[in-house]
């Protein structure tokens, strides 16, 4: 017997199959924008698990996206030909199987990177965690720049354009489903406990480090898959595309939507992907607008644009040394 949320998940996947069948009716430019929206929603929702629900401010999401993008692209570029030869077919099912494999492996390698990064850095809190994750994001980028077999500073080109509506929105549906059911499960209440008061959560017997690492690894996994979707949509990637600014864009989506509010974060991701498309003339001021938005939002509406009830607002704690000053 399926639960309601599982039904919603299956419906969403079925819907993405149906829409995908008719996607050649959609203007290619709109289709590209729609796919970008999906990738950004995946990134924002997965980061929300870390930054929003668990309250661990990470600034290195683009690093995990890079790991996923590079791994998935390397698989389709280097393993792909052997895979097709072994299967003896080049058709859509074979390509789909290859892409599925590439995405999953990309996500797993990104999750492993998340584990390696998470174990040392999640012992830190707040500002330190933000800077260390930023540092790890930069280190990942420097490493990719130095790996010659992955194109070095030039990156990888000619990645097959496998990403389509079905893959993108299938991933979106699964990400949203996994994040929501994780947080609303009995076990997942621990994430919220860690967010609300880490010391109290620890006193209640929760292994807070483990919760933080699980959130981090799951977030990195989906960031890796989103990276795979991204690289197979733009068909060429280089290390500069995954810099600090990319991480900040995802963070802005999470903050604008309201940390720990999945629906709000999805809306914010859609809004922030579509706005630059509609406002082409002012697209070059995008980052200036983002930064002003961050400041004004923190001063006036720290709970985000789309959070109506102050359930998980970040301003809940009237504590910390800042209050004493």
């Amino acid at each position: 017997m399926l639960t309601r949320s599982q039904l919603v998940l299956l419906t969403a996947i079925a819907l993405s199959v149906v829409v995908s069948l008719f996607s050649n009716q959609i203007d290619p430019y709109y289709l590209l924008v729609i796919i970008n929206v999906g990738i950004n929603v995946t990134l924002a929702v997965s980061l929300n698990l870390v930054n929003g629900y668990t309250g661990q401010f990470s600034l290195g999401h683009a690093g995990f996206m890079a790991v996923g993008a590079y791994t998935a692209s390397a698989i389709s570029l280097f393993v792909g030909p052997k895979f097709f030869a072994a299967l003896g077919s080049h058709g859509t099912p074979a390509a789909g199987a290859l892409f599925f494999l590439a995405l999953i492996v990309g996500g797993l390698v990104a999750a492993f990177a998340g584990l390696i990064v998470g174990i040392p850095s999640l012992r830190l809190k707040g500002d330190y965690l933000a800077i260390v994750t930023l540092g790890f994001g930069e280190i990942i980028r420097v490493i990719f720049r130095n790996i010659e077999s992955l194109g070095g500073a030039l990156g990888l080109n000619g990645i097959p354009p496998y990403t389509n509506f079905f893959w993108t929105y299938g991933v979106v549906a699964i990400t949203v489903y996994v994040v929501i059911s994780m947080v609303h499960s009995t076990y997942g209440r621990g994430f919220l406990a860690v967010h609300d008061d880490e010391v109290a959560a620890e006193a209640m017997g929760l292994n807070t480090t483990r919760y933080k690492i699980i959130a981090f690894v799951v977030g990195a996994f989906f960031a890796g898959i989103a990276g795979g979707l991204f690289s197979h949509s733009v068909t060429s990637i280089d290390p500069r595309g995954f810099d600090f600014i990319r991480s900040i864009e995802i963070v802005v989506m999470v903050i604008l939507g309201g940390m720990g509010n999945t629906v709000g974060v999805i809306l914010a991701a859609i809004l922030l992907t579509l706005l630059p498309e509609f406002l082409r003339p002012i697209a070059e001021y995008r980052m200036m607008i983002y930064s002003l938005l961050l400041i004004v939002l923190m001063l006036t509406r720290p709970q985000g644009l789309f959070t109506i009830r102050k359930k998980l607002s970040v301003s809940a704690g009237e504590k910390g040394p800042m209050a004493k000053a």
Partner: protein
């Protein structure tokens, strides 16, 4: 041996710049317990302020150079105070996360406003001081710009130490850093002290920006990001909140980076600072000279 000493001099001059920036991070952390992300962009504004002031002042003269330095320090001190007043003060009673996000916002705003007003293309920074090269006994070479870095950095560090240790406002700064509530109970105006700290830290960042631009004479609005992050690492390395620690951390980091840059791992230079940060936070989170604080409920 000569090569080793030469690298050491280069490392120390880079490290002195890191130390000047790191002091701003550490002082603000001392009084407010938060990392001022925008500090690295104040450093950038300092370099640009120097660039624009120097257009109206004779180049390559000692007096002119000092005038540019003083002007840029003044402009950045005002900028630092304004940032604190508008962006951070209204959030002082909120959670640290809010302040952190605001600081990131201010940092991005300065970078992008810089690209808008100064242009995104790199500019050539003029030589402010007379350009000379000094050669010592066994072939050691030192440029007048490196010399300027050492002299300015030493003067600023000594005067900072004097301000913090011997003056009334410095005593107040240490009091606020020790316990803000008790400080306000004995009649210290915390707001004034915090404004002063921001002004002082930003002025040091401006000096660092100009010295950096003298030695690496290409400036652009994003130039602050990497030196800023590295200076932050230096502050953590020395023990954040600890003023001599920031100077020590800056010098150490400058030396380490210069030696890595001279080795065959030179392509990893930018990553080394972060590797140091991660190691120090894992094994000695309070830094080399800091004291560990336990979180109390």
């Amino acid at each position: 041996m000569t090569e080793f000493l030469q690298q050491l001099i280069n490392g120390l001059s880079l490290g002195a710049i890191y130390a000047l920036i790191a002091l701003g991070y550490t002082m603000v952390y001392g009084v407010l317990r938060f990392i001022n992300f925008a500090h690295s962009d104040v450093f950038m504004v300092g370099a640009f302020a120097g660039y624009y002031i120097s257009k109206r002042i004779p180049r390559e003269s000692l007096g002119g150079g000092l005038l540019v330095l003083a002007g840029a320090m003044l402009i950045c001190a005002i900028l630092g105070i304004v940032i604190e007043r508008l962006a951070y003060r209204p959030l002082r009673s909120r959670s640290k996360l809010n302040v952190l996000i605001t600081a990131i916002g201010v940092s991005l705003l300065l970078e992008n406003a810089g690209q808008f007003f100064f242009g995104a293309n790199p500019k050539v920074f003029p030589a402010l001081f007379p350009v000379k090269t000094f050669t010592f006994g066994n072939g050691l070479v030192m440029s007048s710009n490196q010399m300027a870095v050492f002299i300015v950095a030493i003067i600023l560090l000594v005067s900072l130490q004097f301000i913090v240790r011997k003056t009334k406002i410095g005593t107040a700064m240490r009091a606020v850093s020790f316990n803000p509530t008790a400080a306000s109970l004995v009649g210290i105006n915390n707001d004034v002290v915090i404004s002063f700290t921001f002004g002082l830290g930003s002025a040091l960042a401006a000096a660092g920006g100009i010295l950096y631009a003298l030695n690496y004479p290409s400036i652009d609005p994003l130039m602050g990001i990497l030196p800023g992050l590295k200076a932050f690492v230096a502050a953590v390395l020395g023990g954040i909140g600890n003023i001599p620690g920031a100077a020590l951390g800056g010098l150490l980091l400058g030396i380490i980076e210069t030696f890595v840059n001279g080795s065959r791992f030179s392509t990893y230079t930018d990553a080394i600072a972060f590797a140091i940060l991660i190691l120090i936070l894992l094994f000695r989170p309070a830094g080399l000279l800091g004291k560990l604080q336990v979180e109390k409920v």
